[in-house]
Amino acid sequence: MEPAISFFSGFRAADLWFMAEAAWRTLLISGVSIVIGSLLGILFGWMLHEGRLLASLTLAPLLDVFRSVPLIIQLVLFYNFAPIAGLSLDPFASGAVVLTLYCASLVANVARGGIAAVGQPMRRAARSLGMTYWQDMRHVVLPIGGRAVFPSWVGVALGVMKDSALVSVLGYVELLKASQILITRTQEPFMILTLAGAFYFALSYPISRYSARLEARWAQ
């Protein structure tokens, strides 16, 4: 008798490799978005701090939109409307653009808070030594304000990495999408989701450990 054709097959060692590759893609898209998004966010935060009226009229509402609209809606809208604007982007590029802007909108407020954390007396002291505006920014505001808001920034970065799971709706095969594919095939959601969670943990944990160590060193 012919064996019944099965659409399902159990979890194999090669699937682990498939998930590891997906984890790498998660790391890639979040790494790109966090790095560029943070740099952009610092620029925006500086503009919010310095540009007062103009920035509060133009930039602030725009950043509010990115912060307030659920990421999944931004992703779907951008992915589907970008081609109308003449941009044909693959799922990675679309996801990276949206995640970057999302990250930038969150970092902007962190950065603004960091600049504001260095009070005017401290900055006047720096300027009274003959430092230029940018020397004051680079050698006084950045290290002092940066340390003050570093924990918040780490929180944003870890959040963006976890939120990168939403890019799966565009078909980018990162961890969550890879898990969905494997669940469909193996019908073992419990094990696969646990595995995916473990991968996310493995990506986040070193970052939080490292940042905790940095904070401890600064606190000395």
């Binding site: 401290m122 006047r124 002291a125 300027r127 030594l129 430092m131 050698h139 002092i144």
Partner: protein
Amino acid sequence: MIEIRGLHKYFGELHVLKGIDLDVHNGEVLSVIGASGSGKSTLLYCINGLEPIQQGRIEVDGTDVHARGTDLNALRQKLGMVFQQWNSFPHLTALENVALAPRIVRGLPRAEAREVAERQLRHVGLGDKLDVYPKALSGGQQQRLAIARALAMEPRYMLFDEATSALDPELVGEVLDTMRLLAEEGMTMICVTHEMGFARDVSDRVAFFHQGVIEEIGPPAEIFGAPASEHLRKFLAKIR
């Protein structure tokens, strides 16, 4: 020499300085006394260009501080300033605090900047605290650190803005001693202060500020011994 002519300063509607004329000669120690809010500190901020002025002139060694095109960053290297709150940079050791500006502003090589910093820290009596972070220093030590930091730029003038007002009483002495030392070395100093003992003993002249004008100025013996103005007499009576 610092020359101030017809200086007016407003904060919005508030008229803070109402026509100040003042010369500070090289090597002179001028103490500025007066009630809080009389414009004493504002005067210092105007001298090094941290506050813009609305009328009049301030010249430092012939350079018009508030003229368009004046290089304020270069000018400020001549004008060391010490604030009420010492504002030491918390992320740097004492040595790095003092060496930073010589390195990035004066452009000294790292080793030379450290040498300058070490010399100035010894000068103010912090030779044993070179590698200590500010938060491990007392208020008085932090204020002396701020003095060393200003001195490391090798300024020609030192402006003290109530340098001892934020200190616990038992720490005031060490900072005043450092200021005395500078005065003895011939530094030109403008000291906004509430320390009448210091003003009397150390200054060459004392200026009494009242509501934005210099109401009386002269040698300490005259100001404290024979005050002419009614306001000054009241002020001194309150302080004693």
